[in-house]
Subunit: 371 residues, 2 copies
C-alpha cells in the first residue's frame, strides 16, 4: 500500500492549491498576478493599486485606492505592541521580534477570531499598514528610540521609507522602494504562502496564518537570502573582491545566496532583471553606489558561466535597500511587509473555499516493538 | 500542462514526508510511535518515557529519564515572558496568547537560531518543560495571579496539573492527566505537525516551527475541538439534554465536534476508546462525574446509528479535563504542550534530512490583462 504511493520530497511538482491569485509561468517566463504581468505592475502601478488588485480581484479606481491607502497609513499600532517589543532582548533576530509582534497584534483586533472572508478583506488594508509600521520601527525600538506612526500627509511607500530612515526622502528613492515592494508583493506558492494556507485551513485566524509566514520567511532558504547577499557584497568590498569571494565559495562548494530558484531553475527570475534596472536608476538619481552594480554584475557573470545559475530577486533588492540607507536586519521584515498583501489574499481565498490540509507520510521506522 | 497534473484538495492521500516517528495504520487500527503501539504507551509508559522515545528513538533508561525530567521541571520561564503575557488583553484567546509566548521564548534561548539537530535535541526537554509551564500559568496570569514555576519535588505530570489547578492532586488524577498527555503526544502528520515541518524546511528555527503549530492547533477544525465538546456537554446538562441537542444539531446539519477524523474516517479513533477508559477510572477514583460518561455514551450511540461516525480523542479528553478542574480555555493549550514532544521530534527529523517545501498551484484566474 504505502510503497505504491509516490513521494516527492518538498512536494516538488505537486499541486497544493487551486488559486486565482497568481501563477509562475516558467515556460513564458511570466509572473501572472490576477491576470496582469508582475513586471508591468512594477513598472506602471503603485503598491496600493497592487494591494487593491490582490484583495478586490481588479485594479481599484481612484476612490477605492484612496480608501485603501487611508487605512494603510491611518491605523496606528497599539502602544502595547511596542511595549512587548521592548521586553524582548535587543539582540533577538528582527524576524523573531516581528513574529512575536504580528502574533500579539491579533489581541488588539476585536474581530481577530473571524475567518469570514468579507471581514478579513475589510480589515486587510489596516493590517498591512500596521505590519509596515511595526517593521519600520523595529530597529528604532530595539535601539531605544521612540516609534513613529505613519502620517496621512504622505503616501504609504513614502511613510514606510521615511519612518525607517528618519530623513527626508526624494521621489526617485520612494519610487525605487515602492517598486521593490511591488516585486515582493506576491509570488504564487512559496514556502511562506503555503505555510499560511496550511494554517488558515484549520479555520485558524489570519494573525496565526501571518505569524506562520513570518516564521517561514525567516529561514535562510527563503526570505533570509536578501540579507545574506548584502553581507556578501560588504565582505567583497569591490569588483575584484567579489570575483575572488565568489570563486572561493565555489571552490569550497559553499552555497552562494541570491542565485537560483526552485521554480525558475536555470532561467533568470524576471523580477531580478527589473530590480537590476531599479538599482541602476537609483544610482543615477543618488549619484553614488555605482560599485554595487558593478560587483553584482561580476557575480552574475561568474555564476552564469561557472554554474549556469541566474540571480533571483533578492540579489538586486539587497543593494537597492543598502543604497536607500535601510538597516540590513530589516530587509527580510520589509519583504514580509510587502508580501503581507499577497498572503492576506491567499488566506482569504483559502477561507472562501476551504479544505483542511492533512497529508500522509511514508513510514520508515520499526513496527511491533513491545514495552 | 497544468490540467494534466492531479490536484487533491487539502493534499488528501498525498505523501508529504518520510518519517520514522509515527504512522497511523488505519487498516490494523494501530497508531505506531517509533515502533510501539500508542495504546501500550498510554497504558504502560510515563509521559517522560514517551518524550525520551520520541527524541532518542528508543525507550530511555532510568538515568536518561531522570535527566530528561530534570530539564522539564527545572527550567523556569523567563519573567519577561509573563510580563509580555500581562500586556496582552485578558480576553485574547488563550491559544493566541500562547502563540505569542512561544514566539517570544525564542528570544531568551542563546541557541535559538541553531538548526543543528543535536543542539535541538539537547534543548528539547527544557523547551517542552517551559511550554508546559507557560500553559499551566496562562489563565492565572490573565486573571492577575502570580505565575508558579514547576518544582523538582514533583514529577512533570504532577507539576503540570498542580500548577493549573493550584491544589493537592491525587495519584489517580495525575495518572489520568498523564495518560491524556501521552495520548496527545504524537499523531503522524496532522495539520499542526505538517505546518511545523513546512516552516522548519526553510531552515527557520524550532521556535518559528512551534509557533506555526500553535497557530494551526487553534483552528476549530483541529485542536479547538476538545473545548467545543465540553461546551456542548455543559449546554446539554444531562443525558436527555444530550440526546435532544445532538438530534437538533443533526437536523440542522450542524457540525458536531468530537466525531470523525480525516484519516480514521468510519472507524473509531483508538485513542478515544482508551480515554473513555481513563474517564471511567477517574470517575471511580473521584466518586463523581458519572453523568458525563453517560452523556458521552448517549452522544456516541446516536452518532454511530444516525451517521456511522465514531468519537475521536477530543470527545473523551474533554470530560477528563473537566473533572480534573481544568479551565476549558486550557484544553487546546494542554494538547499543544503534550504534542510539543512529537512536534520537536518532527522538526529535528526535518532538519536532519531537509528539503524545502515548495509545491505548485493550479491557476484558475485570468491571463493577459493590460494595465
Amino acid at each position: 500500500m504505502q510503497e505504491e504511493k509516490t513521494y516527492s520530497p518538498g512536494l516538488e511538482g505537486i499541486i497544493a492549491a487551486r488559486t486565482a491569485i497568481s501563477f509562475l509561468d516558467t515556460e513564458q517566463e511570466e509572473i501572472v498576478i490576477r491576470g496582469y504581468n508582475l513586471l508591468d505592475l512594477i513598472q506602471r502601478a503603485g503598491y496600493v493599486e497592487v494591494v487593491g488588485l490582490l484583495l478586490d480581484q481588479q485594479i481599484p479606481d481612484k476612490q477605492r485606492q484612496q480608501e485603501i491607502e487611508a487605512e494603510m497609513v491611518g491605523s496606528p499600532v497599539p502602544d502595547a505592541i511596542y511595549a512587548i517589543l521592548r521586553l524582548l532582548p535587543s539582540e533577538m533576530h528582527a524576524m523573531d521580534q516581528l513574529r512575536t509582534a504580528v502574533s500579539a497584534l491579533g489581541g488588539f483586533d476585536k474581530e481577530a477570531g473571524s475567518t469570514d472572508p468579507s471581514s478579513e478583506k475589510e480589515r486587510a488594508p489596516r493590517i498591512i499598514g500596521q505590519i509596515a509600521q511595526m517593521v519600520a520601527n523595529l530597529t528604532h525600538v530595539a535601539q531605544g528610540r521612540e516609534p513613529q506612526p505613519f502620517s496621512p500627509a504622505y503616501s504609504f511607500a513614502e511613510n514606510f521609507l521615511r519612518v525607517i530612515v528618519r530623513r527626508e526622502v526624494s521621489p526617485p528613492e520612494v519610487r525605487a522602494f515602492e517598486q521593490s515592494l511591488i516585486a515582493y508583493s506576491e509570488h504564487e506558492l512559496p514556502n511562506s504562502t503555503f505555510a499560511a494556507r496550511v494554517v488558515a485551513s484549520t479555520l485558524g485566524d489570519l494573525y496565526g496564518a501571518l505569524t506562520a509566514a513570518v516564521a517561514s520567511l525567516k529561514g535562510p532558504l527563503h526570505g533570509g537570502a536578501n540579507e545574506a547577499v548584502m553581507y556578501m557584497l560588504l565582505e567583497a568590498q569591490n569588483v575584484e573582491g567579489m570575483d575572488k569571494l565568489i570563486r572561493q565559495k565555489l571552490s569550497r562548494k559553499e552555497r552562494i545566496m541570491g542565485f537560483g530558484h526552485r521554480v525558475y531553475m536555470r532561467r533568470m527570475d524576471p523580477r531580478a532583471q527589473l530590480l537590476k534596472e531599479v538599482l541602476h536608476q537609483l544610482i543615477q538619481a543618488q549619484g553614488k553606489g555605482q560599485e554595487y552594480l558593478a560587483m553584482c554584475q561580476r557575480g552574475e557573470d561568474i555564476m552564469r558561466s561557472e554554474k549556469g545559475l541566474y540571480p533571483n530577486l533578492d540579489y538586486y533588492a539587497a543593494p537597492v535597500y543598502y543604497l536607500l540607507g535601510i538597516p540590513i536586519e530589516l530587509y527580510t521584515p520589509i519583504f514580509f511587509a510587502a508580501r503581507s498583501a499577497g498572503l492576506l489574499a491567499h488566506i482569504i481565498e483559502q477561507h472562501s473555499e476551504n479544505r483542511l490540509y492533512r497529508p500522509r507520510v511514508l513510514y520508515t521506522g520499526p513496527r511491533g516493538l513491545q514495552l
